[in-house]
């Protein structure tokens, strides 16, 4: 039920709407809850609404942590 996926903002439209792209699929969603999102940002999309932004630096940091664990063995 709380399924939500990270999608890239392609283009902002009128009325707090935006086109987002996810694995080649484009969809119009609402940015009313994440008004600061800009094209190129990744937003977490849930039931037709972006509910949060993905922080690319934090994502890199988490992945680096995982990789470190792999390398340490």
């Amino acid at each position: 039920m709380c399924l939500a996926l990270p999608a890239r903002v392609v283009q902002r439209l009128d009325g707090e709407q935006a086109v987002v792209e996810l694995g080649g699929v484009k969809k119009t969603v609402s940015l009313a809850l994440v008004p600061e999102a800009r094209p190129g940002d990744y937003v977490i999309v849930h039931v037709g609404h972006a509910i949060g932004l993905v922080d690319p630096q934090e994502a890199e940091r988490t992945l680096a942590l995982f990789a470190e664990m792999g390398a340490a063995r």
Partner: protein
Amino acid sequence: MKYVDEFRDGDLARHIAARIATAVQPDRRYSFMEFCGGHTHAIARYGIAELLPEAVRMIHGPGCPVCVLPIGRIDQAIHLALERGAIVCTYGDTMRVPASPVAAGPSPGDGVPLGGRAAKPPRGSSDPLSLMKAKARGADIRMVYSAADALKVARENPQREVVFFAIGFETTTPPTALVIRQAAAEQLSNFSVLCCHVLTPSAITHILESAEVRHYGTVPIDGFIGPAHVSIVIGSAPYEHFADEYRKPVVIAGFEPLDVMQAILMLVRQVNEGRAEVENEFTRAVTRDGNAAAQAVVSQVFELRERFEWRGLGEVPYSALKIRGDFAAYDAERRFGLDYRGVPDHKQCECGAILRGVKRPTDCKLFGTVCTPDNPMGSCMVSSEGACAAHYSYGRFRDIPVVAA
């Protein structure tokens, strides 16, 4: 897909598993509850349980909104569609949840047909209805992807009452708040919401301190995996009081398998070191304060409900939201004068004990026999995120020993 695939890497998962195996102390057992159905699903689907050492046990919590939706609420939605002539819009997840047998009511096929012969009741007419079955009987029930789609249906059908049957945790609540505010701005007079939104922190507290703990016995929970998407909205701060007061570590984790593995490692370390803190594994999307825009619209439109029934947990105080008086015109309960009537689950259903971690799905007599995902009896079998449904779909063959032919 970016931010998805790289968090599903099998090799890295095995590395984290090795770290967990090393971190686990030999004389100790670790029981962690993943609150969210999203985590339950990930654990079952990606075989995470197999990667964990025997000393680590995952308990599946009640964080699946479809599962905890009480039967009486489904009855209300069916009543609105079948007897009040409303168009009921809802998320697909709720369509198959069985209603109470009472809600089955007379079938349109029960009357005397034109030919004059008394009709035989259709097969299975005594089965409880679901929204899906009610739709088959002619009720106007529409599956929507977004709350905004329900509003669109209302605009397109000005002569009909349109009710959005809204369920979900804090993730799903802000979009509902937005449509109520939008309906008010447009002065739509035919739109209302049957609000069944519930709150995560109060449910976690309830699991630890409810009176039923005495009835079911206690289960030692050493820590919690905190919700992913719920926490994007509410932030990590609401769990702090909880970690503090109950001395339980909480690690907020994303829904991908590596996120879950890493969170388990962090919990094991907290337990070993005697810490009870809120840690955040899902920093790429969760901040301490959460999404302020979402919180603002939710508190503008909703207020706390004094009590709300959770399927499998019973009545939980201050665990749900209701629509504020300013928006009363959009509250389906007030608009249609609905009364709530609780409906007990099947007598042999063990969901109450399973949701608290006291029993496992296979401890239930109904599991996989009477109760299956196609014919769910109890809450945990209703959605693919429920503990029983996840085990039925991905884990039940694990219970059968492999023997050479």
